[in-house]
């Protein structure tokens, strides 16, 4: 655990990479240039299913500046076995292989790569490719395809498999005093990070490749291309120094990586491939999901039964899976629980993890259902949740390493003013606007994953941290620097952080909110090892004042290794290194999950989110006007960047609740709104002020540094809280996200028809 009198960790310091980002000096993948670099542009399929009957590239090849057009008919040979195509975080099934054959598996699938001397030539030649398809009838409507739903035969991870039922959920449901059961629908969503997916491959005469790549894991991309193209990992370096957002979309390699490397190896030239915004809708997505939640409670509001079933979309070629329903078995105390999860295949690209995958979706349904139950009972929705508070993980029968959710409820409600809420729907107004207050609980797992880091201390007191970690906007550069600075007694400006490079210390992909806890703990371990080595050198010096000092007794302060209890006693770092004849000390730190602890304990982050909406009384336009998000996320390493993580999650949650909807024309199976004008993500004018509270939560077990990770928890529960607030404002329960004006108005019509 970090020292509580910390000087660097826990302080809201600005990001160390900030000045580069605000001045345009931070270089993202596709911004790496080289004289003579070629440009690739991808041509995509315009049917969702079928075969390419004929593809004519003559006109495109003849276009001025074009070097070569690749299709399935002339693509260089690559690995045969699926095993080579599976990246570190692949899901069960057969990974997609770009330009492998004439099969079309989804709308927008890459069918050709045009490589030219300029971006414009590649772009303008691509539409000259003539394609004749033999299309099949598309299957893209989850509502229809759920008839062929199935339990995934191969689980993606054991922890995603719903636990077996406990108690007698059906019987308890039938016998309970209060019960609700409802269907909830989520339309597909697209990550849409602002940076387009891009790869710049710098080809070297010696056979080496340096690949600047938009990814959440440089080593995952390196291993993938080495496996697919049979390259020597020693000769391939993948860099992702700056990543313009990803939200999960950069966990698995995307086809532009494959295509850029393929063309580079084939043409023996440096090649860049940057996708268009339209193509960002053909890569991966948060899958459309249909859910049924049934809840029952006794007269005191104690849960008697929880049943949650989900059917989720996947592709024809892979079984993407996420944990949608399991949360319902551990969110509240209940002894009768039944959870089930199925997939249905669509003609679409394989879905992927998108910020809080599974939890954002499943808890949106569970927490809307909890609100429905509260109204069925006639109980305040917050009171219902507090009454069913649970202090251990009933799914796995494990203790929790910490759970300060009760403080989130208390502090969040106080800040929001929840006690002033009137219970009845449609009872609060502000002029023309109907006002509604809603709340929800959020949960996400607090994971530690294997991570390594190196820390080097120089004679002048400067420090270098290095690891193949990524910073996708999360603040990783800064917090890793803070941890090293704290441990080695220097200010943050003395620390240089090198990440985003596959040649550095082994680090997994940046996902699951585990980077801060994992890489942070590795940096802490490496820093401790540096201090230990420094002390070992100091102790061997002639007449050393630290000859008898133990590790616990010394610290570094003002460039000296000193006795903790008396800073007068010590030695300058420079002198110690000079005596030891070294110019610096570098040590390696490593962390891995504690398997013994994992048998007994589970760890989660929690949140309570409170939302105010105003719904125009006549036009039914909903707006989120106030949000309080109270988070229990363990130790907060940097309150400034931590707050930003939560703000971002809340904003994406508002998008999920009100705006974001991938629209597919099921007659053609094609995505209709593949641009940022028609797929609306929240804009400035959609977002009012958001209040973030971090409640005190000490957890010495979750990770060596006590941090839990904050990348996902911010979004979880937000969509339910918004939907519950809209119910409170309007008296209308809309169970189909996003809650757009048409749905609010349509319910009006239904209500009026029923009344008349």
């Amino acid at each position: 655990m970090l020292n509580h009198q910390s000087k660097v960790v826990g302080i809201p310091l600005p990001r160390i990479d900030g000045p580069l980002k605000v001045t345009g000096q931070a270089k993202y993948a596709a911004e790496h240039h080289e004289p003579g670099m070629l440009h690739g542009f991808v041509a995509v399929a315009t049917v969702a299913s079928g075969r390419i009957a004929e593809i004519d590239i003559t006109a495109a090849e003849r276009f001025p500046g074009v070097l070569k057009v690749y299709t399935h008919e002339n693509r260089p040979k690559t690995a045969e076995s699926d095993k080579n195509w599976k990246d570190m975080v692949a899901v069960p099934g057969h990974p997609f292989r770009p330009l492998e054959n004439d099969c079309i598996l989804y709308d927008g699938q890459p069918i050709a790569l045009v490589v030219a001397e300029s971006f414009e030539a590649a772009r303008d030649a691509a539409p000259l490719i003539r394609v004749r398809y033999a299309p099949d009838e598309p299957h893209t409507d989850l509502g229809r395809e759920r008839r062929q739903s199935y339990v995934p035969p191969q689980p993606r991870m054991e922890k995603m498999v719903p636990p077996p039922p406990r108690g007698q959920p059906e019987l308890a449901y039938e016998n309970a005093a209060f019960r609700i059961s409802a269907d909830y629908t989520l339309e597909g969503e697209y990550h849409n990070p602002m940076e387009l997916f891009g790869t710049a491959v710098l080809w070297e005469e010696t056979g080496g490749l340096t690949v600047h790549e938009k990814t959440q894991g440089s080593q995952n991309s390196r291993d993938y291309i080495c496996n697919v193209f049979g390259l020597d990992p020693q000769k391939v370096t993948v860099k992702n120094s700056f990543v313009g957002g990803a939200f999960g979309s950069g966990l698995r390699p995307k086809h532009q990586l494959f295509l850029a490397v393929m063309a580079s190896l084939d043409l023996k030239r440096s090649v860049k491939v940057e996708l268009s915004r339209r193509e960002m809708f053909y890569l991966t997505w948060r899958p459309a999901t249909l859910q049924t939640v049934s809840l029952a409670a006794d007269r005191d509001g104690r849960l008697q039964s929880v049943m949650h079933h989900a059917v989720q979309a996947t592709s024809q070629y892979e079984d993407y899976q996420e944990n949608v329903v399991n949360w319902s078995g551990l969110a509240y105390k209940c002894d009768n629980v039944k959870l089930s999860y199925e997939l249905a295949k669509l003609d679409a690209a394989t879905p992927g993890d998108m910020r809080a995958p599974g939890a954002a979706t499943g808890i949106a349904a569970l927490e809307a259902a909890m609100d429905e139950l509260a109204y069925e009972i006639g109980m305040d929705p917050l009171e219902l949740r507090q009454r069913n508070f649970v202090t251990h993980d009933q799914n796995h029968d494990k203790q929790l390493t910490s759970k300060a959710l009760d403080a989130c409820y208390r502090e969040g409600a106080a800040r929001f003013g929840w006690s002033k809420r009137s219970f009845a729907p449609h009872s609060m107004r502000d002029g023309q606007d109907l006002v509604g207050w809603g709340m929800a609980t959020g949960i996400w797992e607090a994971s530690l994953t294997q991570a390594e880091a190196k820390v080097r201390l120089f004679a002048d007191g400067k420090v270098m941290v290095s690891a193949a970690a990524s910073d996708i906007g999360t603040g990783t550069y800064t917090i890793l620097g803070q941890i090293a600075a704290e441990a080695l007694g220097v200010s943050l400006d003395k620390v240089t952080v090198r990440i985003g490079d596959s040649t550095l210390a082994t680090t997994s992909v940046q996902g699951g909110s585990w980077t801060a806890a994992s890489s942070g703990s590795a940096v802490q371990a490496a820093s401790a090892a540096v201090k230990k080595t420094l002390l070992a050198h100091a102790r061997t010096m002639a007449n050393s004042p630290l000859a008898d000092a133990s590790e616990e007794e010394v610290s570094i302060s003002d460039g000296r290794l000193v006795l903790e209890r008396n800073h007068q006693v010590g030695l300058a770092i420079g002198d110690i290194m000079e005596a030891a004849r070294v110019s610096s000390i570098e040590e390696h730190g490593k962390v891995a999950p504690d398997q013994a602890q994992a048998k007994k304990f589970a760890s989660y982050t929690h949140s309570a989110v409170f939302v105010e909406v105003k719904v125009d009384g006549q036009l039914a336009i909903p707006r989120v006007t106030r949000v309080v998000s109270a988070i229990a996320g363990g130790r907060i390493l940097n309150p400034k960047t931590a707050r930003s993580q939560i703000l971002g999650g809340v904003v994406m949650g508002i998008g999920m609740a009100l705006h974001e909807e991938g629209m597919v024309d099921h007659r053609t199976g094609r995505i209709m709104n593949h641009n940022l004008a028609e797929y609306h993500v929240p804009a400035h004018a959609d977002i009012d002020d958001i209040d973030v509270i971090f409640v005190e939560e000490e957890d010495a077990k979750v990770s060596p540094i006590g941090a839990k990770g904050l990348g996902e928890i911010g979004i979880v529960g937000v969509a339910a809280a918004v939907s519950n607030a809209i119910f409170h404002a309007t008296g209308k329960r809309i169970r189909h996200l996003p809650i757009t004006v048409d749905k609010i108005l349509a319910q009006d019509t239904v209500l009026q028809r029923r009344a008349s």
Binding site: G18, Q25, G648, L676
Partner: protein, 171 residues
């Protein structure tokens, strides 16, 4: 830009961040691609190429413009300011400093566009409140959701500039 073709190019004069440049350009080259490509001014970002996200915002003769929607040949004689022209890590523009201070970004990809847009907004003088900042900055999307912090940063600079104006008027 030569793609080895007989297609004709046009001469274009541009002043970019105070420096004069002469180009021979094909008419289909956008200002954005000129900046990011041959000029290697990659601080200006491509987020959609359709004028829908604002990541490519630069100042053309002092006004904020989506550079992806401008053909470079249509700007002969124009003065362009990109994020690189506003400030450097060592000498940051007040907006750049405020963005760092308020953590008004996360991944940083929309940030140059947000800052150029904010510079244009301040010059326009139409925004007087937080609500107006939000409305008039809505052409710049931020998927990381840094909006409240961006509003804080702009409001901070706006109020400091207003205070400076008052001080100068009083002197």
């Amino acid at each position: 830009m030569d793609i080895g073709t007989p297609l004709s190019t046009c001469p274009v004069m541009l002043t970019v961040n105070g420096e004069h440049h002469r180009f021979e350009l094909h008419p289909w080259v956008t200002l954005l691609d000129l900046l990011r490509g041959p000029m290697e001014l990659t601080g200006t970002k491509k987020g959609c190429d359709h004028g829908q996200c604002g990541a490519c915002t630069v100042l053309v003769d002092g006004e904020r413009v989506n550079s992806c929607l401008k053909l470079a040949v249509s700007l002969d004689g124009a003065e362009i300011t990109t994020i690189e022209g506003l400030g450097t890590p060592q000498r940051m523009h007040p907006l750049q400093k405020a963005f760092v201070e308020h953590d008004a970004y996360q991944c940083g990809y929309c940030t140059p566009g947000q800052i150029c847009s904010a510079a244009g907004l301040l010059a326009e003088g139409h925004a007087h409140s937080r609500a107006e900042i939000r409305e008039l900055m809505s052409g710049n999307l931020c998927r990381c959701g840094a909006y409240t912090n961006i509003a804080d940063a702009i409001e901070d600079v706006m109020s400091r500039e207003a205070a400076k104006t008052v001080r100068e008027a009083a002197e």
